[in-house]
């Protein structure tokens, strides 16, 4: 017999859909079907059932093979590694819940580590820009109910946030947007004709890397001032057309992604995009929102901020929190060879950092906490698999608009597997003993 669990939260991306339905066996041990999730979310839930999962911690041997050890032994190894290190880096945190993140912060404080989350390779530059200029924003329900102008700038939700447009930004019939997508005008800015761009009323096929110039040109166009014939590959008539579309709306929203955070200009691109939004508030109502990637990178930023004061790239090595991206950020720490121990959780720097940084991870003592086998676990000395957060254990997560949603446990993890939080508590308690703190 089976039962259907409703209002399930999908733990993949920052869209954090919470209308997923999952069918599990009565004893709660097998998950058989997933409804409403996109193909990526569906895969996440179903993969938890695969029989080839690693279910116990394993130590990497000299000859490349793996030796299985117990969770207690793994906690001992991890605590010893952190206790001995002078400058450990605790990285990731984006694919686990806030309760685990909080225990992780305790560990980082005791071991005086550097701690960082995946904003380092995603919206870190957004955070820098927000710290310079601010952030006029809103929750996704405001977009659903009010927005009649939607801009996707340097992001491709069709691929990265597949249900975003149907749940929030384009298709829903909200309170003041009863005609659904017909109530809205969509502008997409992207160097490629992406699947998202194909749906747009206007696609600005921008010259890659010239986003700052185009954003700046829009600000000029708002004021009706002179523009060169072409900016960033876009003719001035098109720029003015888009400026008018934006100004003529009642409630607009700019969603932006890696196209502007990762290309040259980086935080300055975002700064200019936020300036565009601020300027528009002189004419109408406009907001801007980063398309956060991992389902709980936002949560990691929130927990770091209320406990340490900064949202990412936090350096605790002196016994109090310091923040200086470029100096205290993970990739720079690694490429400068400053890290002498690597602790990875809820992320995959092995796959998503430039290889020059990954080479440094391979050189030092390292632990990788991840249910999957990944390039990070492949170059780490210890791989500790844990239960899938949001599937096999619940816990609070924050959506891309900072709304907190408590993920659910829908199925039991494989026999004997721990959750992130349980493993981290073992590490913390052992570390406290090693460091002599009561």
């Amino acid at each position: 017999m089976s039962k259907t669990i409703t209002d399930v939260i999908c733990p993949f991306c920052g869209t954090l859909c919470d209308d997923v339905e999952v069918v599990v066996s009565d004893d709660g041990k097998k998950l058989t079907e997933v409804y409403n999730a996109c193909v990526i979310g569906t895969e996440k839930f179903l993969h938890s059932q695969s029989s080839d999962r690693v279910t116990r911690p394993r130590l990497h041997q000299e000859d490349g093979s793996w030796k299985e050890i117990s969770y207690d032994e793994a906690a001992e190894y991890t605590a010893q590694m952190l206790a001995k290190a002078k400058k450990p880096l605790m990285y990731g945190w984006s694919s686990t819940n806030c309760e685990a993140q909080s225990v992780g912060n305790e560990i980082a404080e005791i071991s005086q580590a550097c701690c960082d989350n995946t904003a380092a390779v995603c919206h870190g530059t957004t955070l820098i820009a927000v710290q310079d200029i601010g952030l006029p924003s809103c929750t996704l329900g405001e977009v659903k109910n009010r927005a009649d102008r939607v801009i996707f700038w340097g992001c491709n939700p069709s691929h990265a946030h597949p249900r975003h447009m149907s749940r929030y930004s384009i298709f829903p019939r909200g309170f003041f947007t009863g005609k659904g997508q017909m109530s809205r005008k969509l502008v997409v800015v992207d160097p490629r004709v992406t699947d998202t761009a194909k749906m747009a009323d206007v696609h600005l096929q921008i010259e890659q890397g010239k986003d700052y110039e185009l954003l700046n040109a829009l600000r000029v166009a708002f004021k009706g001032e002179w523009l060169p014939d072409v900016v960033a590959g876009i003719p001035k008539e098109k720029i003015r057309e888009v400026a008018d579309i934006m100004k003529s709306g009642r409630f607009g929203i700019i969603f932006f992604g890696m196209g502007v955070t990762q290309s040259l200009g980086k935080n300055h691109n975002i700064d200019e995009a936020i300036a565009v939004t601020k300027d528009l508030n002189e004419y109408t109502k406009f907001s801007i929102m980063p398309m956060r990637g991992h389902y709980n990178v936002t949560g990691s930023g929130e927990v770091f901020a209320w406990q340490f004061g900064f949202p990412y790239s936090v350096d605790l090595t002196r016994g109090f929190a310091r923040y200086n991206p470029g100096d205290s950020s993970s990739i720079d720490l690694l490429t400068r060879g400053e890290i002498d121990a690597m602790f990875t959780i809820g992320s995959d720097p092995g796959a998503h950092f430039p290889i020059s940084a990954v080479k440094q991870i391979a050189k030092v003592p390292s632990v990788c906490i991840d249910p999957h086998m990944t390039p990070t676990s492949g170059v780490s000395k210890l791989h500790v698999p844990v239960a899938f957060n949001g599937v096999e254990t619940g816990g609070n997560c924050y959506r891309m608009d900072n709304v907190p949603i408590d993920c659910r446990k829908v199925v039991e993890p494989p026999e004997g597997m721990l959750t992130d939080e349980q493993f981290l508590i073992k590490v913390r308690d052992r570390l406290k003993q090693l460091k002599g703190a009561a």
Partner: protein, 570 residues
Amino acid sequence: MSEYIIKNGHVYDPVQGIKGDKADVAIKAGKIVDKVGSGAKVIDAKGKTVMAGAVEIHAHIAGPKVNLGRIYRPEDKLFSCTPTKGMERMGGGASIPTTFKTGYEYAKMGYTTAMEAAMPPMFSRHVHEEIRDTPIIDEGAFPVFGNNWFVMEYLKNHEVENTAAYIAWLLRVTKGYAVKVVNPGGTEAWAWGLNCLSVNDPVPYFDITPAEIVKGLIEANEYLGLPHSMHIHPNNLGNPGCYETTLDTLKLAEGFKAKNKFGREQVMHLTHTQFHSYGGTNWGDFESKAKEVTDYVNKNKNITIDTGNVTLDETTTMTADGPFEHHLTGLNHLKWANVDVELETAAGVVPYIYSPNISVCAIQWAIGLEIPLMMKDPMRCYITTDHPNAGPFTRYPRVIKWLMSKKARDTQINAFKHKDKVLSQTAIGTMDKEISLYELAQMTRAGPAKSLGLAGMCGGLKPGMDADVAVYDFNPEKPVANPDDIEKAFSRCAAVFKSGVQVVQNGEIVSTGHKRTLWVNAKVRDNPQVVRDINEKFLKYYSMTQANYEALGHHFVPNPYALEVDATNV
């Protein structure tokens, strides 16, 4: 060790009318008791001042806009980091301290209860995570109702019973404490870039006025009989001439009587009154109308207020008055953050520097002090800084110094670049009054506790109450040599007890106790219409499901304390 005796201190307790007599305070099993055995641990309070733990009635210390402030102001941590030390976690932040630091700093000043002033209901999980991570002090949070779609639709048709049922539901699912109203109607207008600057400006689409919203919520609050009254941040905050809107708002309470089982006597609490007491027509002729506002409140005893004192610091403003923050960034051009929250509210954040060299800031400072000096009943006027809007809560000792010492006020007035304007536009120069320790206890303990409906629990030292006690190194029998000594004494307590556990000793944290989250569980008759309306709005308009909105498991509120309200027979 659960028995203590605090011996020979000068006790100030408005609940029992003790005005500085030397008396012992006995603590047993978390409560104040008449006496304890000989084995009780002795705390020597000779030559010291003893009061109940202070009660913070309004501060922004936990939640999404507070954390947005932390995230977007790394510079706020520049000179204010505290390292890990003993049992204290590391902390940082001058105007927006991190949560651990917030708890420690309040406790070290003798505060044992604090209310988070504005909780956007959709974000209740965030608010409670931060409350959980704020050690020592009991906390509650006020969900905001003044721009809520359900409230506006019900009150347009004057459906008080439905409004009450909705309030009861929302307090339960968000573990909220009271009915908070911020810029009624104006923040919904802000979702379209507009505002409501008077109590009669209709809200776009919803076509209800702020006056109707406020009166309806007062009625619903009294229908339920909640521990606290409707708590309001009126329209038109911060603009020259806004005192007229304030008087219009205060008048809405006329004719209403408090109805509750908690000892509360007011039907309206008007918050950070300083920001709402401005005269003049522009920043040039800007002047104080503290007298007009306090005259009204003095005469109308069903109102309580808190001050919102400006402390002359660099700080961060943050409020659910979204349009005000946009206006402020237009004035000072500092970075502006804003979050509109679907169906419910908004929030804005802008840094602000209250410089003693700017005449407007100096006048604001003066107004903040005029108000408590002109209020006749200290049980109805409480000291706050609307932290962090008018200044950080860590400046309370400085505000106390200014209130207790005319000399200290004069020193500050003489230090203003535009001293002449302060003296011409306000009456502060003519005020000789210096508040007494007893009045201080009324304004920071007994008064706010009573207003919050907690008079039976805290704010006093009567046997049976919670053993929340603060001991200050301040000898009331010695004349004050230097007013700065007042500030010093009230900055770091000699001892603090929270629920009978000693948490502070000689200004240092010695235990983090077992803080509680205070919330109000109001029961009403079954109301199928409201249930249906809630279901429908979640299905159609919210961006999350109702089941997930209601989820507030134990890990969010590990130690809840519910005040029970039964409104089923109204």
